[in-house]
């Protein structure tokens, strides 16, 4: 996994609440193997007409075709658990989504793929979106170590993030390797677990 440390990038404002993973990656593309094709898949049904020609959706044209950050409203990434939604964001070049809240599964999926799902209060997200609307193509900066977002006007916003999520992103850590350090403890737990629950042990 690619580490996430700092990022200064064009930020695209998305005002709608509840942008679901079905919009990020329409279901029929879930079968596409992970790779560059996901760049086109992001928001496909908003970006392309049924005949495949591009719409006026903002990600299709400059400056937003170079976006690295999305500033959204609440409950971004709700719905389906499809990790392809994160593949699509990532391949498009999005490394950070800033929103008041996220779908729980989506947020977990982001963390496993080096994408920062960053939470700021609703009013602060709205203020940054307004700045971006006034200055299309303006950049926003994120410093994960310092836990700050610097908006278009240079104002710093402090954000909270769980220590582990922060460390894994900063170091680009592989989760499975981290867990396998504990394989002895897992096996020990398991032995006790099945001793107390013999009716389950046939599966183990």
């Amino acid at each position: 996994m690619q580490p996430f440390t700092t990022l200064t990038a064009i930020a695209v404002p998305m005002h709608e609440a509840n942008i679901d993973t079905n919009q990020l990656c329409p279901t029929r593309f879930n079968k596409v193997p992970r790779g560059p094709k996901y760049r086109e898949i992001l928001f496909y049904d908003s970006r392309f007409k049924p005949d495949g020609t591009p719409t006026e959706f903002m990600l299709n044209a400059a400056p937003y075709d170079q976006s690295g950050i999305i500033v959204a409203d609440r409950n971004f990434g709700c719905g389906s658990s499809r990790e392809t939604a994160v593949y699509a964001l990532y391949e498009f070049g999005i490394r950070c989504v800033i929103a008041p809240s996220f779908g729980d599964i989506f947020a977990a999926n982001c963390a496993k793929n080096g994408l920062l799902a960053l939470t700021l209060p609703e009013e602060e997200c709205a203020a940054i979106r307004r700045q971006l609307q006034d200055q299309p193509g303006a950049k926003v900066s994120v410093d994960l170590a310092a836990q700050t977002v610097t908006d278009v006007q240079g104002k710093a916003h402090q954000f909270e993030i769980h220590e582990v999520r922060k460390r894994c992103l900063l170091e680009g850590l592989d989760d499975i390797a981290r867990t396998q350090q504990y394989s002895g403890k897992i096996a020990g737990f398991e032995a006790g677990y099945y001793k107390d629950r013999p009716w389950l042990s046939a599966r183990a």
Partner: protein, 470 residues
């Protein structure tokens, strides 16, 4: 070893699966992991890193999202689209390669990953379940902590049989009172989501409690828990009781003999203790819930069937107004029009939300009263449901009413196997999501119960089922 602090079922299940804490995160032991064709992404991760499945006996793979719901005589060879065909074939091959239990397309127990495991007794009270699908919360109906996870977390579980989590906050939804005539579990969960919102339970695990929940069948309880994610909760559950135990007893994977007695003792101790604390409490009066349908583009946009499409102009909050305008435009509706005046092109009865035998019985009871005015599909949730329905003659009732009786799978709920709406088509659907494009690009979805869907089918428009079965 009596604890003096009263505990909720959520805490009890959490504690019994908690291996260790590291840097504020908990490593949780996973009993059962459920895969579907899209889990290929997780297997690909394992392949890339050369890792093995640690406990193949605890991983179960299902073919449901991509399988066709007609024309199965030729097996996978008969799937016309090569991309879809390969998803089924590749998943089956991967399951065999890694030695996990496979309910493949030709399996006599084939069906949806949230319908087959309870039928088989794979799901029992007290388990920590994960599934590579957001509707994994369904299994909470048995008193399990059941988490939907993405491909990376699924790969992690396959490699380690454990999952990193932070303890969710606990929310209790208490629903008391008697459900009115024609009101079902689906109406209850839609009413709840309309009340608390699509992110009303984000970050929480929900325990559903109260007399209404106790009186529901296991099928109804599964419908409720299934849609927890539609309120933002990754986990929703119900304490097991005698009804739960009766459902599990005798199923293929269920414990038998002395082991059964031992299991029962353990399961009976799972229920929330009196006085246990919750971070949030929500109450619903069952008698106030009507047969419900959605009019918009999130499950929160739900109203009693006797209602009218809201008028955005009357909404003060600018954000809500704009959300409603977007929804009404996408859905092609007029503010103020009666929900029952919404004409349909299609009806879909099935899915992990409402593809169980009780759902089909409810639909058939209504289908008896007329003939389908629009194309109507009935897709049983599993081969077992299909056989049971046929033994009861439900398929005959459907066929006589002009409903199409199909083979089990996710079908028109997730719309990835080739079953989908055409642009602009409007469908009354017993599934779980009415998001834009969910049932096919440009498709429009109205969520409702199986009985309401059957009523809509024989009228050709959204209909109050109470006017058909009196």
């Amino acid at each position: 070893m009596n604890s003096t602090t009263p505990q909720s079922i959520i805490e009890k299940l959490w504690n019994s699966h908690h291996i260790l804490t590291d840097e504020g995160e908990s490593l949780m032991y996973v009993d059962v992991a459920l895969a579907q064709e899209n889990t290929l992404h997780a297997f690909t991760e394992l392949e890339k890193t050369g890792r093995k499945v640690l406990k193949p006996g605890q991983i179960y793979a299902f073919t449901d999202h991509y399988v066709p719901t007609t024309g199965r005589a030729k097996g996978t060879d008969g799937i016309p689209d090569i991309g879809i065909r390969n998803m089924v074939i590749d998943m089956q091959d991967m399951a065999k390669k890694y030695g996990v239990t496979l309910f493949g397309m030709a399996h006599e127990q084939q069906g949806i990953m949230h319908i087959v495991p309870p039928e088989q007794g794979i799901i029992q009270p007290g388990l920590f379940v994960i599934g590579n699908d957001s509707h994994t919360s369904t299994h909470g109906a048995f008193g399990c902590l059941a988490y939907g996870v993405g491909a990376s977390e699924f790969a992690h579980v396959m490699a380690t049989q454990a999952l990193w989590q932070r303890k969710p906050k606990a929310m209790r939804v208490t629903i008391d009172g008697e459900l009115g005539f024609g009101v079902t579990a689906k109406d209850v969960i839609l009413a709840l989501i309309a009340q608390i919102g699509v992110d009303g339970a984000t970050g929480h695990a929900i325990e559903y409690a109260g007399s209404t929940i106790r009186n529901l069948s296991m099928e109804g309880r599964m419908t409720i828990c299934n849609m927890s994610i539609e309120a933002g909760a990754r986990v929703g559950l119900i304490a097991p009781d005698d009804k739960t135990f009766a459902y599990v007893e005798g199923r293929p994977y269920a414990p038998k003999g002395q082991a059964w007695e031992q299991a029962l003792d353990s399961w009976r101790a799972l229920a929330t203790d009196d006085g246990a604390k919750f971070d949030k409490e929500v109450k619903l009066d069952a008698s106030q819930i009507a047969p419900t349908a959605t009019w918009g583009i999130t499950p929160e946009h739900a109203l009693p069937i006797t209602g009218v499409v809201p008028d955005p102009a009357s909404i003060k909050d600018a954000k809500k107004r704009s959300e409603y305008e977007t929804a009404i435009e996408y859905m092609g509706l007029r503010p103020g029009m009666g929900l029952q005046d919404i004409k349909l092109d299609r009806v879909f009865i099935g899915s992990c939300t409402n593809g169980r035998i009780e759902d089909l019985r409810a639909a058939a009871a209504v289908a008896k009263h007329g003939k389908a005015k629009v194309m109507t599909w009935v897709v049983p949730g599993s081969m077992a449901v299909k056989r049971q329905a046929e033994a009861e003659g439900l398929d005959q009732i459907f066929t006589k009413a002009g409903f199409e009786w199909r083979d089990p799978g996710c079908s028109l709920c997730t719309a990835i196997n080739g079953d989908n709406l055409q642009p602009g088509e409007r469908c009354a659907s017993t599934s779980n999501r009415n998001f834009r494009n969910r049932q096919g690009p440009g498709g429009r979805t109205h969520l409702l119960s199986p009985a309401m869907a059957a009523a809509a089918a024989i009228k050709g428009h959204l209909t109050d089922v109470r006017e058909i079965i009196k």
